[in-house]
């Protein structure tokens, strides 16, 4: 069964604003694919184009080899789509929502139980509760059930874990892995870089452009520089100091630490320590660390030429 997505030179403009610029992307059949990027990068626009809800300004998108513009009706029958905003009926109960979406797709819940069983058991205890009264995580599980009720070949999930607690988030990803085993092509958009590692391949997207497409491991491997974590008593002041340091390649604040790269191949830890000491910082800790997806993203998004 071919459930691939082929995107060729796809652009989308709203008036004078170009939301997507010449996107080229191939997502394989049965892949768990991540679309990683900050808010406003164009993730939702890309999803709506794939879901046949928007018309592209230029270019072609093909789902299962079917054109998203000319034959959008065909696509709608095998596509599962979960919009970023919770889009179920809040005044209908859990079971009523599910039944409604089952009838819309001309099917029955019982016939598709194998598909949704693992998720359904988690929300079944609340099946008579109104959807509007569910917690964030439960809402997303219900929305996923509704998107799966017609056994779609391709599942598009737009920020399914935004606003969901971390336990529910990891449960949600477990479910996606389960679904992948059933052969569904899953595309997930997320602003959380840490979720990228859970995908087989990811596309880093910013300002309507795809920075890189690769497996998370390879993206990290491509990070050529040595990365150091720098910590001191005053991180903000250290950040300003490091920006003035003559050999600084990049420096970003990451939670409690600063991530620093040097322009030189040979990096002298002591020299940096001494420089910061002279600037008046104390309790300086410098460690060499493994680059994360986020580091790569930062490197790619600030220096587009590093992509070439």
């Amino acid at each position: 069964m071919d459930a691939s997505i082929h995107i060729d030179n796809l652009s989308k403009s709203y008036g004078t604003i170009q939301a997507l610029k010449n996107i080229n992307l191939d997502i394989h059949s049965g892949e768990l694919f991540g679309l990683i990027g900050p808010d406003g990068a164009g993730k939702t626009t890309l999803f709506r184009l794939l879901a046949t809800l928007l018309l592209p300004s230029e270019g072609v998108a093909k789902l299962c080899g079917i054109d998203s513009v000319a034959e959008y009706k065909k696509i709608r029958s095998f596509l599962g789509y979960m919009p970023g905003k919770f889009s179920l009926y809040q005044d209908l109960s859990v079971i009523e929502n599910l039944e409604f979406f089952a009838t819309v797709f001309n099917t029955r819940i019982e016939d598709n139980m194998d598909m949704i069983h693992d998720i359904w058991v988690q929300i079944e205890p609340f099946k008579n509760r109104l959807a509007g009264k569910l917690s964030g995580g439960m809402k997303q599980k219900l929305a996923l059930c509704c998107a799966l009720i017609h056994q779609p070949k391709i599942l598009l999930l737009d920020e399914p874990t935004t606003g969901v607690d971390s336990v529910s988030r990891s449960e949600f990803w477990q479910m996606l892995k389960g679904l992948k085993k059933k052969g569904i092509t899953i595309v997930v958009a997320t602003p959380y870089m840490d979720e990228a590692n859970l995908c087989e391949r990811v596309a880093l997207i910013q300002d309507g452009e795809i920075l890189q497409v690769n497996s998370p491991a390879e993206i990290v491997e491509q990070f050529e520089k040595d990365l150091y974590s720098v910590k001191s008593d005053d991180n903000y002041q250290t950040l300003l100091d490091l920006r003035e340091f003559e050999h600084t390649n990049s420096v970003f604040l990451f939670g409690q630490n600063l991530h620093f790269t040097d322009t030189r191949k040979q990096f002298a830890e002591d020299e940096l320590k001494q420089y910061l000491k002279n600037k008046g910082r104390s309790n300086i800790v410098i460690e060499k660390i493994q680059a994360s997806i986020e580091d790569c993203f930062m490197a790619l998004s600030t220096k587009p030429e590093a992509n070439e």
């Binding site: 879901a51 905003k85 919770f86 009926y89 005044d91 009523e96 001309n106």
Partner: protein, 368 residues
């Protein structure tokens, strides 16, 4: 078909679980009928009247008796002189003063003419006019009575009879108007809001991605309101008939058929409004201003169309309730058949098809 039933079920859940919708659907028609039927009443009843009787003979006594026994007027004060009239009107309770000339009886017999003056408080001109007309009517009758059997020199007696509403009951006029207003409100406003709500909450996005086609979505949205509006039409006519005695002289089946046609028209207007509005707020405002006000003011419901300035008279032609009210009055009060109202019916049918066509064209299968 299964799909459609599922969609209908969902729509009924929405309606029955939303207290606001239920109130608009079923509370409003009843409240409006009672309001218009009882409170807003242009008929005269117990108007307070003062009398300045200079004559005080049997004729004047009999005239006063006739007037007070009509039920329209109530004698509350006897005045001594004309100077008091001003003060009495200023107090505000007395609306009419009857001034009877001295020696009314003598003048009647001797000169064959007696004079009575009617003074009214015209700060409310319509009512003042009405009061004068009623009083003149009563005096006219008395005139005939005292001339009975006598040879009168050539005179023309105008006898009027009010057709289709012999007692000039204003509720006869209101029931068709209320029916048009309620059906318009329930059908157009409720459907436009319910479609706009799907857009606002993002559920329309999912419906669009599903294999449902636009026609199925629209029909599913419209059908529940068709049923509920039809029930409303029955309730309004029933209340009119049983509580206020508004007759249905023509064919009941024809009346219902015309009502269904008008409901269809209102629904298609509602769909059209929803296609041009992004959220519930806009849909509600559009329905209010584009539908409610013209329905109440320009349809001939309350204000007669022929008294409007020419531009408004022309404009009133494009207001659907105008035609529906004409149809209703014709069927209910005059008891005529389709041969007299086919023109109005055709106009409604044309408008319905026009709006359905526009909506189908404007309803998007995508988000933009």
């Amino acid at each position: 078909m299964n799909r459609f039933i599922g969609f209908l079920k969902k729509e009924f859940y929405h309606i029955f679980r939303d207290k606001r919708s239920m109130l608009i659907l079923f509370g409003m028609p009843i409240v409006q009928i009672l309001l218009f039927g009882y409170v807003i009443n242009t008929d005269l009843k117990d108007v307070q009247m003062a009398v300045l009787d200079h004559s005080k003979d049997e004729y004047s006594a009999e005239i006063i008796n006739k007037i007070t026994s009509s039920g329209y007027f109530k004698l509350t004060e006897n005045l001594e002189s004309l100077e008091e009239a001003d003060a009495v009107f200023r107090k505000g309770n007395v609306k009419v003063i009857l001034v009877i000339e001295p020696d009314l009886g003598k003048n009647l017999i001797k000169n064959t003419a007696g004079n009575i003056q009617i003074l009214t408080d015209a700060s409310d001109p319509n009512t003042a006019n009405l009061e004068v007309n009623y009083l003149q009517g009563i005096l006219q009758n008395y005139n005939l009575e005292i001339n009975r059997g006598k040879q009168t020199p050539l005179s023309i007696q105008a006898k009027s009879r009010m057709y289709f509403n012999a007692n000039l009951e204003s509720v006869f006029m209101f029931i068709p108007g209320i029916m048009a207003t309620i059906l318009m409100l329930v059908s157009a406003m409720m459907t436009s809001i319910s479609i706009a709500r799907e857009k606002e909450l993002g559920t329309m996005e999912i419906l669009l991605v599903s294999p449902l086609n636009p026609l199925q979505i629209i029909l599913g949205k419209v059908a529940p309101y068709l049923v509920l509006s039809f029930i409303n039409a029955l309730v309004i006519i029933g209340m009119g008939y049983f509580i206020f005695g508004v007759p249905v002289l023509g064919s009941f089946a024809l009346l219902m058929a015309e009502s269904v046609l008008f409901i269809f028209l209102a629904l298609s207007i509602g769909i059209f409004i929803s296609t041009v509005s992004k959220n519930q707020q806009v849909a509600m405002m559009l329905s209010m201003f584009a539908l409610m006000l013209p329905t109440i003011i320009l349809s001939g419901f309350i204000f007669p169309i022929r008294n409007m300035p020419i531009p408004l008279q022309v404009f009133s032609n494009i207001i659907p309730p105008k035609w529906f009210i004409i149809i209703l009055k014709n069927i209910m009060l005059k008891g005529v058949g389709i041969e007299y109202i086919w023109k109005e019916t055709l106009i409604l049918i044309a408008m319905t098809f026009g709006f359905i066509g526009l909506s189908l064209k404007k309803f998007k299968t995508r988000l933009e």
